[in-house]
Amino acid sequence: MRVAVLGASGFIGSRLVEMFHLEGIAEVRPIARRVSSLAGPSRFRLDCRIADAFDREALAAAFADCEIVVHAVAGAPSVILGTIAPVYEAAEKAGVRRLIYLSTASVHGQNPASGTTESSGLSVRQAIPYNNARVRAEGRLGRLRARGTVELVVLRPGIVFGPRSSWVSSFADSLIEGNAHLVDRGRGICNSLYVDNLIEAIRVAMSAPGADGEAFLLGDREQITWADLYRPIAAALGFDLESIGDAVSIPPDPVARGLLKRARRSPVARRLAAVLPKRARHALKSATSSLEDPRAELSSWTRPTPPRPIATLEMELLAKCRYKLPFDKATRVLGYEPLVSFDLACRRTVAWLRFAGYPVTDSSR
């Protein structure tokens, strides 16, 4: 079976190419947007192609003779939405049998309600534009499938981690740089999915009957917290997770965040503050004090200390999660089983950290 991988140089795409090729799962054809992106797949002797995911003609040529296309292109909402029709139509033109689209569990929000399943309603009015783009992309694909010939399987992975994952590398970087932080002590449920388990889901989705037109939530078997995910990374680098502080929390509403951040410094606010009674000025100051850069309060008599990080909106929402998303539909219809345990996934991730030049301590071998 020949499988075209769109987004082959990305985190998931590169592991997909590696695993499919080394395991002999399929004859894999990496497709990248530019020549420089072929550096990764070129470790192997493969039939790599260049095609922009917006370019129907180039895509159709790249998909030629492929039975399956895996759409693993990430990017801004414009990329997520703009590549949907070109990819589907090119797949149709090339005679592809099935398109596997890597969406995200975040279509249900970063903090999904208890009881959420694939059949729960999706909103395009979420606080994070990425979520809305994925919801719209799934909708567009569904409409294309309704009138097209290429089968469609939508996968909704949770927090995909593993070698080359930004969840891993950015936390490791922040530890080394001294600005690592948690949100709510890392107590929130992390709907983790080790990348190899996602690849396994893609493998079974290529041929599972009854999957056409369906969406599937995917996760690891274990229920873990963010602290569980971060602890092995911290330990590998010689840090104790318990000694890492929480980030400053500010309201999750993005509009409110932006307004509050700007409020203290805007000319209007300054003019307003000048005429406010003293008590009102103090109230305004205390309401927004967590947004201030601590460095602004320093004098030459004290040595500067790093400012306390402010949690991103995404992390704020993720940290509130108290629900493990189910993957029983994927098990039932696709035959998906997470083959790699969370413990093994963490050991392999730490192995990658060592490979990637992070100062992994010998005790974590």
Binding site: M19, G24, R43, L46
Partner: protein
Amino acid sequence: MTVPSLPTRVALVGCGAVAELSYAPALRVLSAEGLLEVGALVDPNPESSRRLETAFPEARVHRDANALSGGTVDLAIVASPPRFHAEQTIRLLRQGISVLCEKPMAATSIEAESMIAASVAAKRTLAVGLVRRFLPAAQTIRAFLAQGVLGDLQDFHCTEGGRFRWPTRSADYFQRGASNGGVLADIGTHLLDLIVWWLGEPTDVRYEDDAMGGVELNCRAELRFPEGFQGTVRLSRDCDLPSRCFIRGTKGWLLWSIGEPEHLTLHFEGTAWVVSGRLHELPAVSSQPGAGRRVANFEQSFVEQLRNVVASVRGEEQPFVGGQEALAAVRLVEHCYRHRTLIPMGWLNEREEARAETLSREGTAR
């Protein structure tokens, strides 16, 4: 040889990304000084040469370097894909044209030695584009080490890497057979050349990479030196490695961030501080101690490389990095590829590891 009053006549052979992004701006600087003129552009792909025609409107465009002759060209810059370097350089030298060959000089030491022999026979300059030797920080490190500033050397660790973003237009770059190799042949040539220039030739080299039928994305080398110290080189087109050289001796250590040719960081034993400093030229008036002009940045160092080669062609200077100088790095890269093993990738499962080993061995045998 008398100093010619006319500008040195230059041909640019190969009009790809390195020609467009590095050589063309440097050539324009020296052309504006009247030191040289670009008289010919050579590339089999008209689209590539067209990009440079606007920069050098007076240049004649050729599809093949055979069209050049020593009567009309003094210096050819060979910036074609590496697999053409040896053949084109030897032919140009035989045509009476001096050559600045972009790194890597050649795929094998036999090729490199043939290039050097052709240069000697033709009595023409053969210089190699190892621009990092022109960087002020690299030259300062060499001087520090030669003077024993760090004491007896203990170890060194050089890392360089990040997602590959060089705007190459040719997929040949990543094809085994078409390219000389992957990250080792590319940035590794620069780094190994500097190490040999600073520290001498190693006596023992162990090398591993992740090529599994293609060209390597990651590699690691361990080098041992006759004085007893050793060091590592880790390169990647994949992982965001800090691009730096760390060298430790009995008296202290130095750290150079490779992307910062104007900075060095030093620590001396017995102190609790490090010195993180900008390099300056000596003061214009020697009786007034202090820091003179800021030293050349990367781009300006590239111009200095070209200025040196032109001066060599004119008989005014020796080439700073001649063919013989560059030979050690070619030998080292060749040795690494010949004795390569698979780099451990601890995230692969057992089946993948077994297959990766097989593909890696087959790649070495080819």
